[in-house]
Amino acid sequence: MRKILVLFAHPKYEHSDANQALIHAIQDLENVQIRDLYELYPDFNINIQAEQEALFEYEVIIWQHPFYWYSCPPLLKQWIDLVLEYGWAYGTGGIFLKNKYIFNAFTSGGSRGIYSEQGKNRFTIEEFLRPFEQTAYLCNMRYLPPFHLGGTHRITETELSEKAEEYKNLVLSLRDSDQITLPYIQKA
């Protein structure tokens, strides 16, 4: 059984039905730990050592967040800036994240369709997520395909609970399967 850490960043979680649904689906699972960053660090003063120690014991890491202006909320960026230190996460001696699995689980108002060359956002989800992919790559991690909950503006309750169930199943399979068979990107 793998241990899974969800780094969750939402500045206004109490107003996000979509993220509440996702979190509720996984929050009671064994070996799944959720770190609610906006609750832990409301003033952005991140405790770097505590974060690094927390990362240590988990094999799978999920960046869960809403998609704001084609990226994550600022506190998650702050987390990346501060926690992924040279000599710890990457560079000489930076081996502590090596071979851990990581991916983005994110919600967006717009549906998947508008994230394409023809759509109004002009680029695909994967293209927008390149900075995360490269961050994982530099840290020698295994970057898995993203989990995307799109079209939250118009989503029905049934659709939402289906999506939440899907998220839960993904998490469970990452936790329990002998081999992770999903494709991933990692430095050779």
Binding site: P11, K12, E14, Y38, E39, G109, I114, H153
Partner: protein
Amino acid sequence: MDGFLFNAIIYILAAIVCVPIAKRLGMGAVLGYLIAGILVGPYGFEFIQDETQGQDIMHSTEFGVVMMLFLIGLELEPKNLWKMRDLILKVGLSQVLVTSGLIFGLGIVIGVDWRISLTAGLSMALSSTAIVLQSLKEKNQMNSPSGKMSFGVLLLQDIAVIPILAILPLLAVAGTVTSEAGHGGFLENQPGWIQTLMIFGAIGLVVLLGRFGFGPLLNWVSKTKLRELFTASALLIVVGIAYLMEMVGLSPALGTFLAGVILANSPYKHALESDLDPFKGLLLGLFFMAVGATINFNLIFSDAVSILSLTLGIILIKALVLGVIGKIKKLNLGENLSFSFGLAQVSEFSFVTYAFALQLGILATTTSDLLMAVTALSMTFTPVFSLVLDKLVVPILEKKSTKPKRESDEISEKNKVILVGFSHFGSTLGRFLRANGIEATVLDYNPDQVDLLRKMGFKVYFGDATRLDLLHSAGAEEAKILISAINSTETNKKLVELCQEHFPKLEIMIRAKNRYEAFELMEMGVENIYREHLDTSIRMGQEALQKLGFRAHTVLRLAAQFRKYDEDSLKILVKYRSNQAEYISKIRKQIEIQETLLSGELSRKFSMNDHVWDSDQLKDQND
């Protein structure tokens, strides 16, 4: 024309007339006092009948020098004095030895008796502590390279007084000396080893008292909260030490200087400074006037050429020796000139040696009078010289030198922040500043508190911050910020008034007890007001909301908004305060707004003006 009051009026009047004029003309206060002295003296308006009377005044006001050295000692911490040891020994000793040697040699060459030459050489090697230090302080040059060297030289000269007084009796023709003529106090008749022992004992006593005696005394006295008692104690310390030093034949100035250095770390440093400073100033002023009054113009005019050339010769020799030393010590030309000519006068101490030598029969009365005239003249000339130097020579030199100007010499001891009040509030603030490398000059008015905090390693000074002189000595002129962490409305208001009037550049940050005090401070034009309960109460509220399930980041933003709202409303309300009726209705309106805001904040709408991260509007649009 007798009577104490009348005399006092004459002196003070002369000073009040002459000193401001001298200052206006850029001559410095010392020269002003000297001129005032000449004017009231026997060759001016004859308020002082003869030179002897002038000398009497001089002797009694010499105490100003003693006080000045005590005050200078207060400014100088022991470790800084220790750093100066090289300067004092090398520069000071070489100056005294070379100068007295040269004058002695010159005397022999022109055929003066060797005993007289030696006496004159030793006396004239010394420079006037009073004039030099006063001028340096006036020109704010105590910390410049030349100022520091001057100070080092003067310190050694003060030490040199001891061996000089010891040597003089040996010069006297055997048999003509009677022991009563001695200057060394009651120890004169004791064998040498007892004298030495007593001298070390006295110095030890001063050190011990400084370390362990004066602190408790001042603490005890300050608890009475009677200011004059504190001043009296300060005087007692200085007078007591001076007396002790005279008893064992040491220079009182040196003794009080030592005591000052020891007390430099004491919490009462600034209070002592501000209490003694006026005494020092008055006594020194009188002293300089007395010097002016003792100049025997009859004698000078009777043999003007030789006396003038003698005076100028002495000044030149002294300046030359000092100049060479300054050159070796790599002073630049401007600094070196002010160093060498600044110290080129003969010391007031030589009046003592001449009188002593006269008693010992080394000098004849005419010689002694001549030397005294030279001394007084040299004291008058040097301020003139330095005036010429400062106004004419140095500007030219500075223009010529292509080198960039020296950086300021060393970090001065004054801090950028003055923190008034070191109670729970102030100490937290002070600790926070200190944790981030900012040392504040702390003033507090509770002696026990001060002692306790001193023991814990804080630099806290005892004193009432609403006293202008204390603020001055705490460095309010150079400081950037004054923080008041006291909770008395009255004191705060007084402090604000003082600062606004005397230190307009000083930024003031004031702790306010409540809304009403904040109003008063706002009306006085204070911009940085900190209500002591505002932040804590909001923070408590924040955590209460969190315990009720509010999100931490949301609460943080709500709190920031609430605080801004509260501060803003204060600024509006203060405008209506004078009109009571309008004020009340305004308050009502504010409460209404506050209520709407609060209910808005409580609803799911987060707050009336805050739509960040809301996607409600987006939802209506096309994807």
